[in-house]
Amino acid sequence: MMRRRDAMKGLALLTLTAACGGPSSSVRVVVVWSGWELTQFRRVLAPLVKEGTRVSVQSGGNDLAALVGNRVARTAAPDVALIEQPQMVDADRSRLVPLDRVPGIPAGWADLLIRDGQSYGTWFKAAHKSLVWYRRDRLMGDPPQHWNDWVDTCRTMAARGRPPLAIGAADGWVLTDWFENTLLSIDPAIYRELAAGAELWTHEHVREALRRLGEIWAIPGVFSGGPRRALLTQFDGALVDVFQHGRAAMVAGADFDYPIIEQFGNAPAKWFRFPSLETERPPLMVGGDAAVLLNRHSRGGRDLITWLGKPEAAQIWAEAGGFLSVNPAVTGYPGDLSSLADEIQKETAGRPAFDLSDQLGGRLTGADGRGTWKIFQDFFAEVAVDRAPLERAANRASDALAAAKAASS
């Protein structure tokens, strides 16, 4: 008899919890990460979960913006989002809740999330996106110092039937990262103005940056498996192509490629900085993930963001690799990744050159099949697959960028 009553009580409680939308210490989080990275993020949250917070994490993948912007029902809305596009602060600002500033974050980084004097996010993770990973046993000669060396190396290797490069062109952001690195080498000022929303997409330096990409992308035989296959290969597939199959020697990427190389490769991970001309400063382009709060009433959400802002939280993932922090208090990076963290902390202390495409809103916002991602994939196809004249392809891409910008304002 007693047992039945207990069961009824339990049932009533269950209904009640369901009816109230769960206990107040439950947090709904959406992130961009998937697979192994998601597992690492869950490890970071483990101490909170141990303390009794119920955290449900969902991956939005490359469509995170759509998931965060999905304003269908409050029941479905996340409390916290880990965003890699600062433009989402503008896009979803009406729903974001201002947060306290966190100590240890350099001012230049914090500024990216500040609107009208209020901070809307807390940086959790930073990424070094000006790297080229290579394997020693496949590369002919020494790692290139400057852009022209790099082009020469690629030409020589391609001519000898040894594809120098792999590229995950199925992921549009891989291509925008390439572009951002060349543009940053050519004209950091234009880079900053474009990030601030200037309509300078037809500027000569933008076109020059595009042509510079084309210089490498259009080399016959430069990509393992050819450019068509590259367009169907994601960034992780490109890393596997190089470090497991040895089909190519180099792949441009970021520090978060490291764990993939470690887990799926069979050659040591080596890198050089993304090359620029001898006369230019080598670019250092960064990315990152910031936690934003979407639900004013979520105490658990606030606690979670506070935790993510602490070096102890960052430490958990940093030690596993593929994670950099702008906070100097975080240590224990595996391999020689700590030098990358140093580079980020030193070179971007003032004003980081944050991933340009991630700062662009409206029709330029990148996602699979849209915005900058799509425009650069079209450009890639034009120069690498169709072998269109560089000048024409570059102009067309810069016009497309300008048109998208005009359409969104």
Partner: protein
Amino acid sequence: MTPSEILLREDTRSPVRGHPRRPWRSLLHLLPAAVLVGAVIVLPLVWAIVVSLKDGGRGYVALWTDHGTRNAILNSLVWLVLAPVVCLFGLLLAWLARGSRRLGVLAAPIAVSALVTAVAFRLIFEPGGPADAVSTDFLGSPGIWLVLGLAFAWQWAGLAVVVFRAGLDAIPRSLMRMARAFGHGPWWRLGKVTLPALVPAGALILMIALLAAARAFELILITAPGSVQSEVDVAGVHWWRWRADLTEGTSAALTVISFLSVAVLALALLWGLSREWPNRVEEPQEPPPSRRGHVFGILAVAVWVLPMVVVLLTSLHTPRAAAGGGWWSGGFGFGSYRQAFASGELFSALLNTGVRSIMAALLLLIIAVPAAFAIAWGGLSRRAGRILIAVTTVLAVVPPQTVIVELGRVFDDLHLLGAPTALTLVHTAFGVPLAVLLLRAAFASARPELVRVRLLDPAPGSVLFAVVRESWPAVVTVAVLEFVLVWNDFVVGLLLGGPEAGQVTFVLYDQARQFTTSSGVLAAGAVVVTLVPLALVLLTGKWLVRGFIQGVRR
């Protein structure tokens, strides 16, 4: 005079009665379904139409002038055309493989979620996959269309084969004999006897295929690499991805257009569903075994199990070997399964989704059975019955995207429901129309004498139970279909459930961003997630076919 005219026919229409019979009871039977469907589908649908017309229909013009939305709408129409093509293919295969037994396996993919199907076909066709030997460009343009079409055909053509086969077997022999006796040739027999006899079953299968085609979402999301996403964009995906860029009116117009295009087709199908056909007067006989049918049968089964074999083999590799394209070569191990279960998310999602699916299936029966009974035997006028069926048909094909925004608003206003509870209710509501259509047809074919006797019985519900007992394969079919649909759902959970929904398909999607390096874990998860609905469908397979057939006998 055609043979069907001189065949003995029984009039199975609702019995004519001398006095009006407690019509309030039928209304009571219809009420729960009406309230649920009214609140979850009809009201939001009407509201979406109102919103889409708010700015004087300019939203619709904007759809056509914008290159992206136009492309998405046209692609959605291509999907709708794909549905009948797949059904025709199923018919062809059913005819070729007649005489072959054990074709039931072909219908098994209806238990497989669109997301897992996408994983399977991407594994097959991605660079380095099994199809790489033929061409590396399958996932590019225009090969991606072939891959998507094959994936869709794999999911639905098998069901068509099985149901058409049963339909072919059920054609009264006497009819054929008579046609032959009248000296009609094989083409005449095909056009005048065989095909018309298949119309009701075909219409139902086509309806189900249309429903799936109109809701194609995760199949596209997962199968197509980022660089071809815009080419294969459809209205439902475009709406989700670009909604922030569209005005409220345009966004509503996009969903309304995708609803209207499929609703028109569904209404056309209704004509097929309501065709009269003589009830079976003799038990169906197995056709004599034929060598050709046997060969085609084996061939079809071999092709059909291939995608699942690729997923299974991939899952049995370590994540590392799987990433290197190993589905055949070395590197076997259970590492992928270990990783799939490591976080505990998969296990809790299995429980969550299981509970939700069972709840939705039971709730659906409680609501849909009385409603279907009321339409079949409730003494409604013929006209009222017809209108109800037409409305139900249209409601059966409403895409979730069309109603979800307004539905979300209602949930917000009520804020009574937590996501998981709300999700169960919404799933049930979405299942009601199709369930009512299937059950009504099954109930209507109950033996009239059985019903007539019980109608005099004063105990309420006794007719209902008698009819349900008579048509239980259809009831089982409806419950199993709902379980499978809820278990495999992605879109409704994504839009309305949020992270808390704990849907199994989310756990898979959580792995899908980096497809290559996740392929082992993804495949392992896919196998685990598919086992439950697959086992259910295989266990109930015999009744399912009978249920489908019953569901089209009137």
